[in-house]
């Protein structure tokens, strides 16, 4: 299971509390996790990445294991600690504004 921590506003939209746990089929890439997340919570489609291009929205970031994965290709496999559930994947609303 992949543990995912959503930012406050997306937890509210998805009506979840705490972490989300997702089963991912095949290689546990960022794209596969986002596909699984949106499949379970359709309200999040378009909120994290563009619906058409699947590009990350500019003020959303992906962190895990103290690494910023935001600029990694989405087909890159997630860190082993995330795959093994030892660490969560963090989806972050970036700091913006004052």
């Amino acid at each position: 299971m992949i543990r995912v921590v959503l930012p406050y506003h997306l937890r509210t939209l998805a009506r979840v509390e705490g972490e989300v746990q997702l089963a991912v089929e095949g290689p546990a890439t960022l794209r596969a996790v986002l596909d699984a997340l949106e499949a379970r919570y359709p309200v999040l489609r378009g909120m994290i990445r563009d619906r058409a291009t699947l590009c990350r929205r500019p003020f959303v970031r992906f962190y895990a294991c103290r690494q910023d994965l935001s600029h990694e290709p989405t087909e890159t496999k997630l860190p082993e600690q995330v795959v093994s559930s030892a660490e969560p994947l963090l989806i972050i609303g970036a700091m913006a504004g004052g």
């Binding site: 930012p7 939209l13 003020f59």
Partner: protein
């Protein structure tokens, strides 16, 4: 007994204000969608318990929310706003062409007779429509062929902020875009004509005959007289008596003809309201006095309405979608400010009272009159 429900969109959520027909004691619910920008909420005329809300965020994008119980509970509807085909380009600030990019929905306009049909005005400017209650949205792309390559964003963004559906002829629709101008369709949004003749924008547009490029801030119509429209432009208050074929200025004796909202009295088609703002450089009322101006003659002759409004040290703005009227007798007039106040006048503007003083900056005000 009649009651009213005011739908308030703010920078940090939606608020719903309800009162009986006296409009003196108000219940306030909210914030709904706390922390999100709610650009606009509007109820279906055919089914007033059905309310649509435009929920948006610079981080997470656009949602349309839908309520079936007058705003007590909400469900997310569709949020897939895609321009039809290849989006094309419009004029950018430096004179080059720039691709159309969807940013948010500024205005939602439910159809008069069908609660599942809603028009949405978007930034970058385009008109969308749903026929299934907001689940799916389709662009009506004919609008952007009306010289869309010459449209240019104003400082607030290139937004389609006004949608007026003709009360008897569903094929006739008016929209207004900043900073492109006013447009009319007579065939159900298939084709569009710029209707900006008579508008003068010498400071922004050197070409006196420019068909598009005018910074229209708001248009209002009285349903009993659908060929008469009133406009608050960037500068100038204008009127047309022939559905936009020709506009003429009716700013008259206003202390400033810059402003954002304009609205029409429910029972008096020649009584109109504006809120003069000092200038495009200073977005606050002249002399620090918040004054609504009313004309009972369809323009030109204006009276200041001050009773109950702050007459010193007031430096708020009133945005284009932040004024509304109810249909009670006497007509109620409402407006919200960037300082978070929502004011009501239950006597057509003669006296004003704050319903609430400390909301986030108000983006929009709509009012439903319920029986």
């Amino acid at each position: 007994m009649s009651s009213v429900r005011a739908l308030i969109g703010t920078r940090k959520g939606a608020f719903i204000l309800t009162a009986d027909g006296a409009r003196e004691r108000w219940d306030i619910s909210g914030p709904h969608f706390a922390g999100w920008e709610i650009y606009h909420l509007k109820g279906s005329p055919a089914h007033p318990a059905r309310i649509y809300a435009s929920q948006t965020s610079g981080w997470f994008g656009q949602l349309v929310q839908r309520s079936e119980d007058g705003g007590k509970t909400w469900e997310a509807a569709g949020n897939d706003f895609r321009y039809d085909g290849v989006p094309g380009t419009h004029m950018w600030y430096d004179g080059t062409q720039h691709p159309w990019e969807f940013k948010r929905v500024w205005h939602l306009e439910p159809a008069p007779a069908d609660p599942d049909t809603v028009y949405a005005g978007a930034e970058d400017a385009a008109l969308f429509k749903t026929s299934d209650g907001g689940r799916t949205w389709q662009e009506l792309p004919g609008l952007r062929t009306a010289k869309g390559h010459l449209w240019q964003p104003g400082a607030g963004g290139m937004c389609l902020h006004t949608i007026i559906l003709h009360p008897e002829r569903p094929e006739r629709i008016f929209v207004a875009i900043s900073a492109a101008g006013a447009f009319r369709s007579d065939d159900g949004a298939q084709t569009w004509t710029p209707v900006n003749r008579g508008l003068k924008s010498p400071y922004e547009l050197p070409d006196p005959d420019a068909e598009v490029g005018h910074c229209v801030h708001r248009i209002a119509m009285h349903p009993s007289r659908p060929d008469v429209l009133f406009m608050q432009k960037h500068w100038d208050v204008l009127r047309t008596d022939n559905a936009g074929e020709l506009w003429h200025e009716v700013s008259g004796d206003l202390p400033s003809d810059f402003g954002f909202p304009i609205d029409v009295h429910t029972h008096e088609p020649d009584t109109i309201y504006v809120v003069p703002i000092k200038s495009d450089s200073e977005h606050f009322p002249p002399d620090g006095k918040l004054r609504v101006y009313r004309s009972r003659t369809g323009g030109n002759e204006w009276e200041a309405l001050t009773r109950g409004l702050p007459q010193r040290d007031c430096y708020v703005n009133v945005l284009r979608d932040a004024m509304a009227v109810d249909s009670l007798e006497p007509c109620g007039v409402y407006f919200g400010t960037t300082g978070g106040q929502v004011y009501v006048s239950a006597d057509s503007g003669d006296t004003w009272n704050p319903i609430v003083r400390d909301l986030p900056a108000v983006l929009s005000v709509e009012v439903q009159t319920l029986s």
